[in-house]
Symmetry: C2
């Protein structure tokens, strides 16, 4: 089995931060049920539940595989005796939490991802708990990354840069979007991509990203991002299609990679031949938004400011209707936190008013959509530092222009 991969001291810090948050909210404990949350707090994602009391040591109750959890976990592991008896087991192990109360005690849980059926059953199994929505705390607590985590994202950035190079070096007119992503994914995988990327949002899925050209790239979709792509079927309605890539049309290469659980997200635009003046202007506007965003990416900036300013720049360029999708299919953000999941907090969107902090990692992705024509844009993942920011993305930042034969 694989050894513990996360620094023990860091794991203790994470738990302390969570407990401090619980204290402010008046919760008696937190129940983590989602695999990503388990990995973040227990160092393992075996099937089970992690109970973190407001004070003291947590216990990770594991159903399967117990032996694997015992090897991997950085916290105390116990066998989950039975689902129905989980409440009794908790009362026995945490008398200070559940023992002396007359009323049910408030316990936060990851209700944004936990299925309703499990929620109902947990409420029955733990009658002394009143399960409340702990999603916001759990998402906030993960926003600032440690050097260990940043190192993992940087590894993913390296693999993504290699994969982009592999794709660009073999890109040619007439190749389908599917053929292009096959080359890119193969390079990602060879470099350690775990084979999937995690999104927290319900029904949100991501392959390795969106690789799409011309009108296919500009098609709207449910995917919670600025560019969807035609996809292969109504059952896979995003990213690549079997459409051949033509000359003089924008090719959007928005790819991610997941190494040891941590993801990167980056976008580059390519063209075989040349872009029209209109698309060139839009691409340059995306670059201008990125430059302006970089000047704001520092501790203290409110995340919503970046979106508001980007909207202004797009509007001054006469491109507001095409910014981050077209018309009613626009998304209302400029970027997003990134780490164990693609869609972490903070979001660079209206309403996100907790100031940026050093250690946060954010993907910033200004894009412009021209229905029937294509999507242009650029995306880097950044680390917020003490004084500003630095890109984690390694790919050279430019429009990739290939000669049409």
């Amino acid at each position: 089995m694989l050894p513990i991969d996360q620094p023990k001291e860091e794991m203790a810090n994470r738990l302390q931060k969570l407990q401090a948050g619980m204290g402010k909210l008046g919760w008696s404990g937190c129940l983590v049920t989602q695999n990503v949350g388990l990995y973040y707090y227990a160092g393992s994602m075996q099937t089970g539940y992690l109970f973190v009391p407001a004070r003291g040591e947590p216990t990770y109750y594991v159903r399967r595989s117990l032996s694997r959890a015992m090897t991997e976990a950085t916290v105390r592991v116990a066998e989950l005796e039975s689902f129905r008896g989980f409440g009794l087991q908790l009362e026995r192990d945490f008398p200070e939490v559940f023992g002396s109360e007359v009323e049910a005690v408030p316990i936060g849980a990851d209700l944004d991802v936990m299925p309703a059926q499990l929620y109902v059953r947990l409420n029955e199994a733990i009658p002394h708990a009143r399960i409340v929505d702990g999603s916001s705390l759990l998402r906030q607590a993960r926003a600032v990354k440690s050097p260990f985590e940043i190192g993992k994202i940087a590894q993913a950035a390296e693999a993504a840069a290699k994969a982009l190079d592999a794709g660009i070096s073999r890109l040619k007119e007439g190749m389908t979007e599917l053929e292009l992503i096959t080359i890119i994914e193969s390079e990602l995988r060879r470099n350690g991509h775990i084979g999937l990327m995690r999104m927290r949002g319900y029904n949100q899925e991501i392959m390795t990203g969106v690789v799409a050209a011309g009108d296919a790239a500009a098609e709207p979709t449910y995917f919670d991002g600025p560019a969807g792509g035609r996809g292969l079927s109504p059952a896979a309605p995003q990213s690549v299609s079997r459409r051949p890539i033509g000359r003089d049309e924008p090719i959007l290469i928005d790819i991610g990679c997941c190494i040891d659980g941590y993801v990167i997200d980056q976008t580059r635009t390519a063209v075989i031949g040349r872009l029209s003046p209109e698309l060139t202007t839009a691409y340059e506007t995306a670059e201008a938004i990125l430059r302006h965003s970089e000047s704001l990416l520092r501790p203290g900036t409110l995340p919503e400011r970046l979106y508001a300013d980007a909207l202004d720049i797009a509007e001054r360029a006469g491109l507001s209707e095409r910014f981050m999708g077209f018309g009613r299919d626009q998304v209302k953000f400029l970027g997003h936190g990134i780490g164990l999941e693609i869609d972490e907090w903070p979001v660079l969107a209206k309403g996100f008013r907790d100031p940026l902090e050093a250690g946060m990692t954010l993907a910033v992705e200004p894009k412009f959509t021209f229905p029937g024509v294509g999507v242009v844009g650029i995306e880097n993942t950044y680390l917020i530092t003490e004084n500003g920011c630095r890109p984690i993305t390694l790919s050279p930042e430019r429009l990739y222009v290939l000669r049409a034969d």
Copy 2:
């Protein structure tokens, strides 16, 4: 955008079947929120909710992308006006369901996948509904496949067979598991694999399967299957690792593929050199279980019978402790329904007593785990026919023995 891909008449049959089920349970309607369910009943998986009344036509309330849903869907599409106003919109559109009642009416929903947060909010937004757990009905209703669906699974089988051949043709000693799966996945993708496979179970994930050799294959994991694999990290604790594949050890190649939403699942065992007599016997026992299972795979058989009989055969061979995982990490099933999700119903497990029916598609996967040594086994996906069954899997059924140089 992509045109409608599912036969209209078939879509009507699906809704009729669901409505018949609702009638028996006394529900006034059903609310489908999960992407796979939306695709099954509405032909599109854009973000929104499908409301199916117990009688009459359903409406698909779409938030994004409305234009795409209108192109793809086979049912009536309406814009979801606002989440908070969803209850009012439903009352206006379905006065016969919500209008005349004094009490809240029972509405089934997919509570096994719907997040608890959404469940709580939907209960608030639709005060005239009493949302009940409709998971069982929704899962049962999909168990029997149409010729259209079977055709899609057969396409996935073809891609999987090609990918296995590609992997086997380039398999050699010293290659890592990661390198082997990279070859396989590349071939799957080239042939139209959508880039992900869907599982319904909470926290369950699947890359394209488990490709693992020797002791790494035999490591236990949370994955709800008989063989997990070491994985690349505690954050990806299943399937491939960076372990080199050696000679004389079993190489488990359990791969899936998803074409237009439909998945196949198959396993073959390979070896470079030769298997020990003990592993050879176990492999032959897996084949014997498969042969016996085929004799039972026909309309009328109770799914649990297949598991019970398989256990008997394993026990007679002295292999019960190693059957479907080792010791306490065993899973308690022999196979599972398969279609839009990998983990469909029925499961070949104790408690599944609704008889098999023609049109059901099932993956049957007897495997034996030898900790520290490896996993051997075989898996085919079958279609239940009027008189028996036929394999959909196309790969030749044999132990793949490669010469060690």
